[in-house]
Symmetry: C2
Subunit: 249 residues, 2 copies
Amino acid sequence: MSLYDFSAPRLFLDAPLGANVDVTPDRDQSNYLLNVLRLADGADILAFNGVDGEWRMRLKALSRKAVVLQSIEQTRAQTPQGDVHYLFAPLKHARLDYMVQKAVEMGASALRPVMTRRTQATRVNLERMRANAIEATEQCGILTLPSIEDTIRLERLLTGWPAERRLIFCDEDAPVADPIATLRALPRGPLAIIIGPEGGFDPQEREMLLRVPQVTRISLGPRILRGDTAGVAALALVQAVLGDWAPAV
Amino acid sequence: MSLYDFSAPRLFLDAPLGANVDVTPDRDQSNYLLNVLRLADGADILAFNGVDGEWRMRLKALSRKAVVLQSIEQTRAQTPQGDVHYLFAPLKHARLDYMVQKAVEMGASALRPVMTRRTQATRVNLERMRANAIEATEQCGILTLPSIEDTIRLERLLTGWPAERRLIFCDEDAPVADPIATLRALPRGPLAIIIGPEGGFDPQEREMLLRVPQVTRISLGPRILRGDTAGVAALALVQAVLGDWAPAV
């Protein structure tokens, strides 16, 4: 991983970016630039929108509240987004925020909360998830924006599971075997990882999961892992064997 | 990983455990049992000490403050401890607590804070680290106790690095190659993983690391990872290729 340019703050902008394409940020973002980041007239930011790569842009203050961002130059070309969906029984509050940030750092392309019988959190704040995901992309030099999908019940998720997507089930009851060998045996293609609630899926849910034809079980070792630990560990193995930590085939 | 018995609280006891070996907890632990866990006379706990396996013990209240724990039966035999040292530039407060817990969940056998030029934390509370490590072992069904080593400066750590221990350096500047292939090429044996500060090691420190004969560099993918993410990811790869997530050789 090359050294990134940290000389200017990175900012996600939901607007087209390109040569000579200036952007007028909305009121919230103008406020963020001027009053939170405290950028002065002439200061630079590194903007990205998930499709056009990363662009150095220069802030021009039009008034005390209004700014325009002037396109200076492209700093990085758009990188392709991997296709690894991260499905997880949501935790609460700070632990959920953490889980979202970590999944984004680890290259998840979509995040989806899944309600299970043992799930502790009753509602998931998708807007908060989205904000945490964006912040993680800004802080970690990421050029693609993961999508945040609506909360779904496990049963509904598994019914009609798309045939082309492999579902990696981190199963606490799997014998400790060789997760890397298991993953190596899979062809490259769209993937999903599912992380269950604290205490694991209940027996009926496990049966449901094991009946999905596209499911592959892996063990994550002999110790109990918290959900947020398991998520990062599973993503590390998947990315290193099948994803963008591994050589392209 | 088999399903653990969660019917009783797990507790680390710094005392010998065995058949008919009763334990009189100290005042702090008696208070914890009676007033925090609120265990009544006759309640069971699952005790471990890092060497004698796990034992079901029954609380017998001698008075309102004093208890004795009576040995009932061994529930699990002692598991061997792996030999993976986790060396890390400390973070602050909650993030340090988190890092310690995760490293223990992931099977680190020793944890050692390493001071580098870009380290943010100035002092590390080793007692707090120890308490977090013990709590993680209790909550995650772990039978071995990781050791908490004194904070050390990077230069001192690397001078006289033990020849038999391989040092895995997660290097943000390594080309994105194939971390699993790199790890697979190593023989089994004592290991250490070193995780640098936010922003990475400075150039002189990197040079120092790369001069250690036992160093192996791996890349952790194309994205920037926070220190606590990198730690879990690196441990996942190391355990899955060389440690106790992989088949024994």
